[in-house]
Each structure stands twice: as structure tokens, then as C-alpha cells.
């Protein structure tokens, strides 16, 4: 695999166009900047006075959740473009405008006083990574549960998860593009290099996941199954890498898994043949059982993708929460001597998470293949 081939390929054009798109909207301010006035992670005090109690739950949730910037190390962060669709049209600006203007607000909720940091810019407010419109006083107002009463704005920003998805998509295109090219160039010859690494995995998806579950029509669905498998796997693995460009927790985002599950649902429903619908609406049971069977069957049409969604989301998020909790031990005990214990546990958990990452991708693909197989199944003699 010569470097020149990669550089001249169409893949690089795609990767570059992603990069240009991502960075173009933040062209007003430098995309990468150090900053001394940036916001602080809740509970972590930059001075390290030790007076404030470390809020482990808040810090962990902050690292699990999506954000409008990509924090790299210390005070360095990439300020991703904020894209809002308001009544006045599209508003695009760098999120550094938000994060450079921290404001604090005190409100009472659940009978307690809360103080929170929020950011404002140009009539918009960023509170807990959600964008609201500022009210007439130019501030946020809250209800009794601590939720802002301001109007929400449609947020199409490139957030950390979106940028991380761009990175994993670019990686996938790079890897598979070069492998596909190598197959074309080396037609009839033995696979070499990356080809020989990926070929067993692709054959594994074909022979152990697609063909047994879908039957003779499996070739139609191979692109989808391969995409699902490798995309989920690479996002799971990248979520474990603690530094840029990894560590963005994409597959632990319920919106991401929701879309993956919905696509599986759409493919199974669109490809359902007469047998499939017959089994749902006129199953092979005595007629007096229909009032029970039909609602159950209809619910199962939706509950199967829902289980896929929740399974992937919960497995990945739970793993990340455990790893983050173990690291937070160091901050809870406020001593560096906990770190050997902490790091050893985190190492063990990370290896387990590698297995879980592969396994969840495999299970998602397997169950998708199973559902597709049920949808396209030919009539079996009862």
C-alpha cells in the first residue's frame, strides 16, 4: 500500500471535504486556541484548593455527554461551529463565542439553591449544552424543577459527537477504500497487508451472520450489515481512546443508537414480504387468540429495534461510566497514591470494554440480520 496511492485517491478528497466543512464555519476565530477564560468542568476547581467537594456524578456526566467544543488537554479545546436554525434563518458561529463568555446564575429548584455556569452570545444562551433563546431581560429563567423556561432553538451544530463521527467515517473510508483498491489492482493474487486483516472479518460477517440468518438473499443486505458492524465497532473502540481524536462517546449517545435502530427497523419493514405481514396480522393460531396475538405482534415489531437501541447505548455508556468512576477515585480521595490502584482497574476495565465493543457490534449486526431474515423469509411448511 504505497502512500502515493492513498494521496491520490478519491478517499482523500472525501476526507478533505469533511475537514473543510467542519472547520469552515469556525473560520472567524482560529479553530484551535488556548484560552485562559474557558469554562470549568463542574466540580473541578482549577486552583485545586480542596475546599469544594469534587462532584463525581456531575464530572462523569459531563464527560459522557455531548458538547459544543472538543476539549483536548488542559485549557486547549477545538471550538466547533454552532449552527442554529431560528426564525431569522441560519445562524452559524464558533462556539468560542459561547465559551468565552461564562456567566453564573443562581436559581432555586427542588427546594435548594443551585448555582450554574452558562454562556450567552448574540441572543442565545447555552445552558448544559442546550441552546435557548434569551428572554427580554437577556437572561435565563427557570421553573421549580430547575429546567429553563426559555424557548429552545433548533440546534444543528457540529458537536463533539458529530465531529467524532466524521473522524470515524473518514477512517472507515480510508481503510476500506484502500482495501477495495488493493483488491482491484491485485486481481487474482493473494491478499496482502490490510486486505488479509479485513478479509477474515468480512467473511465472518458474511458466513456467520448474514448467510445463516437471511438465507439465499443475503447478498442484498451485506452492505448494510457490514456498514453497521464496522461503524459501531470503530465508534466503540474510538470511545475508549482517552485523547483526541478518540474519547467522544459516540455510541453511548442515545441519539446515535436511535438512528441505527431506526434504520434497521426501516430496512426490515420495507423488505417485509407477504409472509411477514401475514405472521403479524393473521398468525397461525386459533381465531379467538387474535385479540392477544395481534397487539403483541405489533408491539414486538417496535420493541425489537428498541431493544437494539437500548442495548448498545446502555452497554457502552455503562462501560464509560465505570471507567470514569474509577478515574474519579483519584479526585475523590484527593491523593495521587490512589492512582496505581485506579489505573490498574481502569486497564482491566478497558480490556473488558474492548471485548464489549466488539461484542455489541456483533450482537447488533446479528440481531439486525435475524430481523431481516424474518422479514424476507419464504413460507416454511408448518
Amino acid at each position: 500500500m504505497h502512500l502515493s496511492r492513498i494521496l491520490t485517491s478519491k478517499i482523500l478528497a472525501t476526507v478533505l471535504s469533511f475537514a473543510v466543512f467542519t472547520l469552515s464555519a469556525s473560520a472567524k476565530t482560529p479553530a484551535l486556541q488556548s484560552d485562559s477564560g474557558r469554562h470549568e468542568v463542574p466540580g473541578e476547581h482549577a486552583g485545586g484548593h480542596g475546599e469544594e467537594k469534587f462532584d463525581a456524578a456531575a464530572a462523569i456526566m459531563h464527560h459522557i455527554a455531548d458538547a459544543h467544543e472538543w476539549h483536548i488537554i488542559g485549557h486547549t479545546a477545538i471550538y466547533l461551529p454552532v449552527i442554529l436554525y431560528t426564525d431569522n434563518g441560519l445562524e452559524i458561529f464558533s462556539s468560542s463565542h459561547f465559551y468565552h463568555n461564562p456567566r453564573t446564575v443562581t436559581y432555586s429548584a427542588d427546594g435548594k439553591e443551585h448555582t450554574a455556569t452558562w454562556y450567552s452570545h448574540k441572543g442565545f444562551a447555552l445552558f448544559h449544552e442546550k441552546v435557548y433563546k434569551l428572554d427580554e431581560n437577556g437572561s435565563l429563567s427557570f421553573d421549580e424543577d430547575g429546567h429553563p423556561l426559555n424557548e429552545r432553538v433548533m440546534d444543528f451544530s457540529i458537536t463533539k459527537n458529530v465531529a467524532s463521527m466524521f473522524v470515524s467515517v473518514a477512517l472507515l473510508l480510508l481503510i476500506f477504500g484502500s482495501v477495495a483498491k488493493a483488491y482491484r489492482k491485485r486481481k487474482g493474487k493473494a491478499p496482502k497487508g490490510l486486505q488479509s486483516a479485513l478479509e477474515p472479518i468480512v467473511l465472518f460477517v458474511r458466513d456467520d451472520i448474514a448467510q445463516p440468518n437471511i438465507g439465499h438473499q443475503y447478498r442484498r443486505f451485506m452492505p448494510f450489515l457490514l456498514t453497521v458492524f464496522f461503524f459501531i465497532w470503530i465508534n466503540n473502540v474510538m470511545g475508549l481512546i482517552p485523547f483526541f481524536p478518540g474519547g467522544a462517546n459516540v455510541s453511548g449517545n442515545i441519539a446515535f443508537t436511535f438512528v441505527m435502530g431506526t434504520i434497521t427497523f426501516l430496512i426490515t419493514t420495507a423488505n417485509g414480504n407477504k409472509n411477514y405481514w401475514k405472521h403479524i396480522f393473521a398468525p397461525n393460531v386459533p381465531v379467538w387468540l387474535y385479540p392477544i396475538m395481534i397487539p403483541v405482534e405489533i408491539i414486538s415489531v417496535f420493541s425489537k429495534p428498541f431493544a437494539l437501541i437500548i442495548r448498545l447505548f446502555a452497554n457502552i455508556t455503562a462501560g464509560h461510566i465505570v471507567v470514569l468512576s474509577l478515574v474519579s477515585l483519584i479526585f475523590i480521595f484527593k491523593t495521587v497514591y490512589v492512582s496505581p490502584v485506579s489505573v490498574a482497574f481502569v486497564l482491566f476495565m478497558d480490556v473488558l470494554e474492548l471485548l464489549v465493543g466488539f461484542l455489541q457490534a456483533y450482537i447488533f449486526t446479528l440481531l439486525s440480520a435475524l430481523f431481516i431474515g424474518m422479514a424476507v423469509a419464504e413460507h416454511a411448511e408448518h
Binding site: A57, A307, I310, R311, F313, A314, N315, A318, L359, Q360, I363, L366
Partner: protein, 71 residues
């Protein structure tokens, strides 16, 4: 009493996962003991079943996370 009842729910879900996966592991190991040649097939199916049971237990964890109302 401090804490939230969501923590108790999450603990119960973890018990469910432990029991389920423990039984799967036990049966798998027994099967391998009876027929060592089938070890890799049994192991594959054990992993799959464990992932599905874990999925069910994590439903409970997700509900606990959503309903967490620390007092």
C-alpha cells in the same frame, strides 16, 4: 436515609445480570466438560447469550439512571 431508590433498582438489576450470566457460564462450562471438542461452539453461544441477558439487565440500569433523584 440518604441516596435515592434508583441506586437500589440499579443494584437489583445487577443481581439479575449476575444470576443470569452465572447460570449461562455454568451450563457452558458443564457442556464443555461433557464434550471438549465442542468447546468453541459452546463458547460462542455462551458469549451471545450473555450479551443478550446483559442487555436486559442494562434496561434496568438505564431506567435507574433516568429516574435518579438524589435527595
Amino acid at each position: 436515609m440518604i441516596g435515592s431508590i434508583a441506586a437500589i433498582g440499579a443494584g437489583l438489576a445487577a443481581i439479575g445480570a449476575g444470576i443470569g450470566i452465572g447460570r449461562i457460564g455454568g451450563s457452558a462450562v458443564e457442556g464443555i466438560a461433557r464434550q471438549p471438542e465442542a468447546a468453541s461452539k459452546i463458547q460462542t453461544n455462551m458469549i451471545i447469550a450473555a450479551a443478550l441477558v446483559e442487555g436486559a439487565a442494562l434496561f434496568g440500569i438505564v431506567v435507574a439512571l433516568l429516574g435518579n433523584n438524589p435527595s
